[in-house]
Structure formats: structure tokens, C-alpha cells
């Protein structure tokens, strides 16, 4: 059945035009593979044989991807923010897997190579027509819409990983891009990260739907093939050389993620942009830290600190007066390292936001981020008040306030 023009137009509009031209091999190789999947014919037409189509590296890649994407999606969409470290590890694993797959697309097994993907526009449209007509033949490697799906998934996941790394670098000041990423860029990237993640989830459902149609409607055992690597084939068979890409291809393909991990580790150890390790003066730690944690100076603006220091005799309801000399030294430290000298999430959203009460707990961001926390938690032993940041933010003293370091205590009140 030839697709109707309107349908053709819709497909053409949604087609990623930049992938045209990847396919260099003509259709003749595919034509030579006669793939058998009809159980009735199996019985009457034996010389059937099982041929390895998906080699071990590809299968390992595929199922690792399933696990890693599942973890990343669950922690990303559903888990509390404190799970960010698990999400990040899943993201790093994902980027390594993607790097491997991209390399494997050039150095890997025959059917994994991008140049063997049946990606031409005509082929995809024809295959879609066949699907709609419910007469879709089995394909020895990827079928055209499946191949297109893989390109979309790979590109989508690359987008997810890249935007994730930028978000991690800008918002959390962590990871290989932290040394170069501002908070604003990271904040913007988070929107893109979420959009890309939703798009990938959508693509995964389409992928699963495609697999469902292949197995249920057309009786092609594609899931089994991705487990055992084998498809049942009959007839004359052209097997290209270096079909499995091993061992040179495996080494080359593992080298790419290895280099990426090594480079990323070096970059991740650089000092993040807009954050520095402060040496907290002993006088600040003892004089201010006697009653409350010695808050990181980036939590308030220079002006707010000035007001706080001027109002010590009535310091949020208590006399916290200090000698002039001591107060002067503390004030100098706070002014020099106030919120405008840091580019962290907390400096941007809390520190630079002056409140009339001078309290950081009155900033909209603080309120928004703590509105789901029960008042009882703030009264718990070991917490005591809303301004005991350290009780939950294990890295509060460094001014980082990373999501992964949030551990809200449970336990008895």
C-alpha cells in the first residue's frame, strides 16, 4: 500500500532531515537476508539456522541502558531531591554508555554500524506504510522505523546528558562543567533537561509500542533476538566481513568512554565557577557559632550583614552584643564574602534576596523550598529551629547546599 499524500507529508515534517545520508549501503544486502519468523513455515521449510545478529557488546549496551535509564528516570521524576547523587551517577553511567554506543556505531559489529541503518526517507515511509497495511516483513538488522527510533533515542539521551551536566555544574557546582558554568546557565539548562527528559520518555514509549507491534502483530521475535542475539534465518546469506567488530572494535569503543571519564574527572576536580572554599575565622566560628551555626557569608548580602551587625543588641529577640573590635573583625569577614561574591544557588536565590526582617527564612525561595517540611521536623531534637541549616544540609558550612547533601532527619520528636 502506498501511503496517502497527507500521511506522507506528516511523516516528512517529523523526519529528522539531518540523518538523511547516513545510510550508504543500498537495499540489496537486506534483500539477500530472508528472515523467517512464521512458525508454520519453520516446520515445512527447514534448513533454518540461527544467526548472531546482535553481538554481545550491543546486547549488554541495550540492557544496561534499560537499567540506567530506569534508575535515572525514577530518581529524576519521583525521588526527593536528596537522591540527586544517585541520579547523577546514573547520568554518568548513561553518558559512558552513550559514548560507547556512538563509537560502536563506527567500530562495532556490522548491524550496529550507523552506516548500515536503513534510514533513507523513502525506506522509512515505505516501512510505515507496510506497518499500517499490516504487512511488515522481518528485517535482519534494524527495520527502518526502528533505526529512526534509535537515532531519535540516542540524540534525545545525548541532549538529556548534556543538559544534565550543565545543570549539575551551574546549580550544584558539581561535575565536569562546574568550573565554567554560571548559576543562571545551569538554571536555564534545567528547563531544557526536563523537556529533553520528557521527550525521551515519550520516545521510549513509542519504542516499546513498536516492539509490541513487532512481536504481537507481525510475530517478529525482536525481544528474544535482543536477549540471545540470534535471529532465525533461511536461505542464501551474505555475511559481511568483521561482522562482530571484535576485538579491535571493542577496544576502540571502550576507549572513547574511558577517555571521557578520565577527562571528566580532571575537569570535575577544578574549582567551580562562583564558589570558593572559605577559611572561617575562629572569632566568627566561636562568637556567632555559640548560639547558631556560623552561617556561610554568602547567605546574606553585604548590606544585610551590615544591618545584622548593627543590630546585635536586639538580635532576633536576644542580646547578642559584641565588643567593638570583635564585631569589626567579624563584619569585615562577612562583607568581604557576602552573597554577591558567590554564584551558587543559595547565594543567588537566598543570599542576594534582602528581606525586611533580615531573615533568610523570609525569602520566597527559602519558603518555597521548605513548604513541604512539617513544622514538627523543625522542632525535632537535633534540629530545633528553621535556622539550623546544618541539621539537614550536611554541606551548609561550605555554602554549597547541594541537593545530594540534604538529609531530613526522621526519627522521634
Amino acid at each position: 500500500m502506498r501511503p496517502i499524500p497527507a500521511f506522507r507529508l506528516i511523516v516528512a515534517m517529523g523526519y529528522p532531515w539531518f540523518v538523511v545520508g547516513i545510510e550508504t549501503k543500498p537495499a540489496d544486502i537486506i534483500m539477500d537476508y530472508r528472515l523467517h519468523s512464521d512458525p508454520d513455515r519453520l516446520a515445512v521449510e527447514p534448513p533454518v539456522k540461527e544467526t548472531l545478529i546482535w553481538d554481545l557488546p550491543l546486547r549488554l549496551f541495550h540492557w544496561s541502558m534499560v537499567c540506567v535509564v530506569t534508575v535515572a528516570a525514577l530518581t529524576g521524576f519521583f525521588a526527593p531531591v536528596g537522591w540527586l547523587d544517585v541520579h547523577t551517577v546514573a547520568g554518568y553511567a548513561l553518558s559512558s554508555l552513550l559514548a560507547f554506543r556512538l563509537a560502536w556505531g563506527f567500530f562495532g559489529g556490522h548491524f550496529s554500524k550507523f552506516k548500515t541503518f536503513p534510514l533513507s526517507r523513502d525506506r522509512v515511509i515505505k516501512h510505515l506504510g507496510q506497518i499500517i497495511a499490516r504487512k511488515s516483513p522481518a528485517h535482519i538488522g534494524h527495520n527502518p522505523t526502528g533505526a529512526l527510533m534509535i537515532v531519535v533515542l540516542l540524540l534525545g539521551l545525548i541532549a538529556v546528558v548534556l543538559t544534565g551536566l550543565v545543570t549539575l555544574g551551574g546549580q550544584e557546582k558539581l561535575g565536569p562543567l562546574a568550573f565554567i558554568t554560571s548559576y543562571k546557565i545551569g538554571h536555564f539548562s534545567k528547563e531544557l533537561h526536563e523537556m529533553a527528559a520528557f521527550a525521551v520518555v515519550g520516545a521510549i514509549f513509542i519504542h516499546l509500542f513498536g516492539v509490541f507491534v513487532e512481536t504481537r502483530v507481525f510475530k517478529h521475535r525482536v525481544i528474544q533476538a535482543m536477549v540471545t542475539g540470534k535471529k532465525v534465518t533461511v536461505g542464501k546469506f551474505l555475511i559481511p566481513k568483521h561482522r562482530n567488530g571484535a576485538p579491535r572494535g571493542v577496544i576502540l569503543s571502550l576507549l572513547v568512554p574511558a577517555v571521557l571519564i578520565a577527562g571528566g574527572t580532571v575537569l570535575a576536580n577544578k574549582t567551580p565557577a562562583g564558589w570558593k572554599l572559605l577559611e572561617i575565622p575562629a572569632v566568627y566560628a566561636s562568637e556567632c557559632g555559640d548560639c547558631h551555626s556560623a552561617y556561610h557569608p554568602s547567605l546574606r548580602s553585604a548590606g544585610a550583614w551590615q544591618a545584622v551587625m548593627a543590630g546585635l543588641p536586639d538580635h532576633f529577640g536576644e542580646d547578642a552584643s559584641l565588643g567593638q573590635k570583635t564585631a569589626g573583625r567579624i563584619s569585615a569577614f562577612l562583607q568581604a564574602n557576602s552573597a554577591t561574591t558567590f554564584d551558587t544557588k543559595v547565594a543567588r536565590r537566598v543570599g542576594r534576596n534582602d528581606t525586611k526582617s533580615l531573615r533568610m527564612t523570609d525569602t520566597p525561595f527559602w519558603k518555597k523550598r521548605h513548604d513541604e517540611i512539617d513544622d514538627a521536623v523543625f522542632r525535632m531534637r537535633g534540629v530545633g529551629s528553621k535556622v539550623n541549616c546544618n541539621a539537614c544540609h550536611k554541606d551548609a558550612m561550605s555554602g554549597r547546599f547541594g541537593d545530594a547533601n540534604i538529609h531530613v532527619p526522621t526519627g522521634d520528636k
Binding site: G289, D290, C291, H292, S293, P313, D314, F316, G317, E318, D319, A320, S321, G323, V383, G384, S385, V387, N388, A391
Partner: protein, 147 residues
């Protein structure tokens, strides 16, 4: 020979001095330091009242447990933060632990006059709304030393 003997003696003295300083640092405040502080407050009390008979732990206890509520609204009494038992760990309004006030529980306390004066200045103002008299200070310390 003579020179090296002198050197040995001098280095031993130096070691002894350093050791004493180190001990001073980590050692709990000494009874002697507390005595000096009490004596200083006693002399202050005597300048106000020549017939001042001495401090009382009972009066100190009564002061500690009282609820004057004449200072700042959030701190009506000492016990607001220190709890009603000086042997207990207290908690500041901000949620920070306060070591027990009882000397037996916190032997490192009460060695530094400047620090004692700072906290009397702040907390008497917060709780009472005024400075504490030398008698109140002495009574309070005497009570805490007995605990």
C-alpha cells in the same frame, strides 16, 4: 662541657614551660581561676554594700529557676534555653546545643572572666531587661559551682 650542660638545662626548662602551657590549654578551668573570679565579684559587691555577707547557692538557684519575663519576650527565663536542670544539655532558640551549666557536667566552663562577663551582659539583658547585680552574678555562679 659547661655549655652543653647549660643548654640541656635550658631546653628542659623550655619543655617544662611548653608542657605547662599545653596542660593549661586542655585542662578544665582550675578551682583557682574560679576563686579569683568569685573574689572579683565579691569585691564589686562590697563596694555597693560594705556589710555584704557572701554569696548563696540557694539564692542563685531561685534566680535561675525564676521567670522574670522582664526582658525580651522570647527569653522570659534562664530555663527557656538552659532547661530547669543545670545538669541538662540546653538548646538555643536557633537549635544549637548548650553544654550543661553545672560545673560537674561542664568542667571546662567558668575559667574565662571575659567570657563570663559577656554572657552575663547579654543574657541578663535578654531575660531581665537589665544588667545583673554583682550579688546576682555571684549567687548564680556559686549555685552552678555547687552543681
Amino acid at each position: 662541657m659547661n655549655l652543653s650542660k647549660g643548654l640541656l638545662a635550658r631546653s628542659m626548662v623550655a619543655v617544662a614551660v611548653v608542657a605547662c602551657l599545653a596542660v593549661q590549654f586542655v585542662h578544665p578551668a582550675s578551682a583557682n581561676q574560679r576563686q579569683q573570679i568569685i573574689e572579683k565579684i565579691t569585691s564589686e559587691a562590697k563596694t555597693l554594700d560594705q556589710n555584704f555577707p557572701g554569696f548563696s547557692a540557694d539564692r542563685g538557684k531561685a534566680l535561675f529557676l525564676s521567670r522574670p519575663a522582664t526582658g525580651k519576650p522570647d527569653t522570659p527565663s534562664c530555663t527557656s534555653c538552659h532547661t530547669s536542670n543545670p545538669s541538662n544539655v540546653g538548646e538555643t532558640r536557633a537549635g544549637k546545643e548548650i553544654a550543661p551549666m553545672a560545673l560537674s557536667k561542664s568542667p571546662e566552663r567558668y575559667g574565662d572572666l571575659e567570657k563570663i562577663e559577656k554572657w552575663f551582659r547579654r543574657n541578663c539583658n535578654s531575660v531581665l531587661g537589665r544588667a545583673c547585680t554583682p550579688v546576682e552574678q555571684g549567687d548564680f555562679l556559686t549555685f552552678m559551682f555547687s552543681q
